[in-house]
Amino acid sequence: MQVVQALQQALPNTSVLTSEEACRPYECDALSAYREKPLAVVLPENIDQVKRVLQICKAHQTPVITRGSGTGLAGGALPLKEGIVLGLSKLNKILKIDPLQRIAVVEPGVRNIQVTQAVEPFGLYYAPDPSSQIACSIGGNVAENSGGVHCLKYGLTVHNVTSIRVLNMAGEEYVFDEKDDGIDLLALLNGSEGLLGVIVEIKLKLLPKPEAAQLVMAAFSCVKACAEAVTAVLQEGIIPAGLEMMDRFSIQAAEDFAKVGYPTDAQALLLCEVDGSHDQVQVDAQRVAEILTGQGAYQIRVSQNERERTALWQGRKNAFPAVGRYSPDYYCMDGTIPRSQLAYVLEEIAKLSQKYDLRVANVFHAGDGNLHPLILYDANQPGQLQRTEAFGCDILNLCVDVGGTITGEHGVGVEKLNSMCHQYQGDELEIFHGIKAVFDDTGLLNPGKAVPTLHRCAELGQMHVHKGQLPFAHLERF
């Protein structure tokens, strides 16, 4: 391949991987059901090398799939057979920390947790904390507009980035800064899933570490009461730093795994964390406990110290692997719904679970309505993956139908292209494709991801008539 040769000539030997073995770890991201071997994996060491890679790929009309740490859950970094993977993990330097200004400037390969670790001595931290934060990269966070358990209070990635440097396919550089005038291109680039440019530098907003935090755990014997309790807390004017809900299956799995003292007889469990100044936290924690008791919680526990608070979080933070122990594979969904619809949506998911004969556990970022159903399946059983995908697709359609969205924080990637057809009409999709073309007229940056073609949606529309047993697998993934 000419393009591979050109890349090998332009970059150090160790920066271009082509062998089957070396490329294997890059065949998929955290959505491992989809795999593809790329032409090559390129791991540039500096921005100049990134520019050269882009120029070479442009000249050879070769697609570029930018990749951070590969922790994405929607297949956004799935390689193309005829494309290269542009891995930015070697661009891993923190370029600047200004504690007085409360900003950090980082390269895209810097891991999320590294930022907080580096600024901790100054009493600061970086707020967005996706559950993969020990591994996921800041560049990937920006591309996906990642959330985390604290985003109800502290915002998503888009709220915590003040400036980015971006390259286009020609290797030309742009800066999008919060101080810019007119339309907000910085906001547009957040969550653009690698389709609009390659992000090579990011300026992050840092926040002072809260003086104190307390966790209130509440057990409910009915899901509806738990959902209503969440509403009551928010209506009282308290914005918790974290507000997480788990259903019975998740509670049992988490307790079995982490042994933190969750009540396994509960139908729903609520974890509500308040943080801020000592004064405020005391007031808020007591108020939250009162509200939850008033809403019918039959057991309340308020963390008395840091150790207890961390321990109570452990169950929730390990919910995915805990549920995963019950099955060879699990599939994590990411719909968002109005909280008022939660009880209804959970009932419908239970019905679908019976219909597809697949078990499902639900964990819920209750504060912002982000639902993560985990569907358990076995990829080695013929037909189970397809059934799982159809089940997942039904869940996402359900989310859209109650006024929600198909993805709260994981992104569309390749995984939710079909669901995008359900959420957006042709005219909006046309605008999306128009935006893509403005930034990338070559169409070589992460092609086929995030926004479905109109053709795909049209085909799907026809097939919706025969809803029930969609053979998704044979559909071309473009």
Binding site: G123, C151, D184, T407
Partner: protein, 322 residues
């Protein structure tokens, strides 16, 4: 489609056929009217469409007055976190179009941070919908946030869904001190756990505003509690200047040392209001004469992107350029 939206869409289509340029006007409180463009008014398209306090979301038509929104929210002990400036008769649509945020910006974020979804009419009069009413939503490009600040040059936004926050009690304190010391102090305070919602320097005083329960401030030397008026004075900031002097708005790094001619420091140091005859030498300077003129200091590459995006939304150039 709502009747008023239908009428607006028809006006857009008619303008396209007649090669007319349209200027979108809300409460006519900000951008002055342009003689060469035809007015497309969203005054009639007003009203709150849905408001679920527990979901922390309000949806309103673009012509809804800010005052109405704020009153309805206050009744449920909630508010717009971005504290939009009131220019008299201002609408939420116009505020969004100009992307205006008040003094809490460094602490609570800016207008676009609270935009969850928009419905709009593009330059072909097509009704489009982006985002929604969800606090978290990463499906598709974030068009709703991108168009904040577009000043009616790309599309007619007809409806907005905004995240709202609980109304908080706020107390303002001030200390008399020199400007350069205040700039350092406000940045230092912002790095502590004191729950700030405003930090500014004006008329020889450093002002800071604190939300909710917090440690006593007035036992510190020189600190006095004052009313919250100063934040209204600064938002919108309309000082009387001597003849010949112009008001310039500078967006800078928050720790930038004193700048000559500064008459107020806002946004915890990241905004400087400078009175001078000539344009200060700085990368992000806007002449602030309440005409909301764009800065036009984009590099060629960004200009090209903006022109390209304009064509995507308004291919026949129906909406007035910036």
């Amino acid at each position: 489609m709502e009747q008023t939206v239908k009428l607006l869409a028809e006006q857009i289509q008619q303008a396209r056929h007649e090669n007319q340029t349209l200027q979108i006007v809300g409460g006519n409180s900000k951008v002055p009217l342009n003689d060469t463009a035809q007015v497309l008014s969203i005054q009639e398209h007003s009203g709150i469409l849905s408001y679920e306090p527990a979901e922390l979301v309000i949806t309103a038509r673009a012509g809804t007055r800010l005052q109405e929104l704020q009153q309805v929210l206050a009744e449920k002990k909630q508010m717009l976190a971005f504290e939009p400036p009131e220019y008299g008769n201002s609408t939420i649509g116009g505020t969004y179009a100009c992307a205006l945020t008040g003094p809490a910006r460094p602490f609570r974020g800016k207008l676009r941070d609270y935009v969850l979804g928009t419905k709009l009419l593009d330059g072909q009069g097509r009704a489009l919908s982006f985002g929604g009413k969800m606090i978290k939503n990463v499906a598709g490009y974030d068009v709703s946030r991108m168009l904040a600040g577009s000043k009616g040059s790309m599309a007619l936004v007809t409806e907005l869904s905004l995240k709202v926050v609980p109304l908080v009690e706020e107390v303002t304190y001030r200390i008399e001190m020199p400007e350069c010391e205040a700039i350092v102090l406000m940045n230092q305070l912002a790095g502590t756990s004191l729950p700030l919602s405003g930090a500014a320097y004006y008329g020889g005083y450093f002002y800071y505003r604190v939300m909710g329960a917090h440690p006593k401030q007035t036992n510190r030397v020189g600190v006095e509690a004052v009313d919250n008026q100063v934040w209204q004075t600064l938002n919108p900031f309309r000082p009387k200047l001597p003849p010949g002097q112009k008001l310039w708005r500078l967006d800078v790094e928050s720790t930038t040392p004193c700048i000559d001619g500064t008459i107020a420091v806002g946004m915890c140091g990241s905004r400087r209001w400078v009175a001078s005859e000539h344009k200060p030498e700085h990368p992000y300077v806007t002449l602030w004469d309440e005409r909301f003129l764009p800065r036009h200091n984009d590099g060629l590459g960004v200009q090209k992107i903006k022109q390209g995006l304009k064509k995507v939304f308004d291919p026949y150039h129906v909406f007035q350029d910036l």
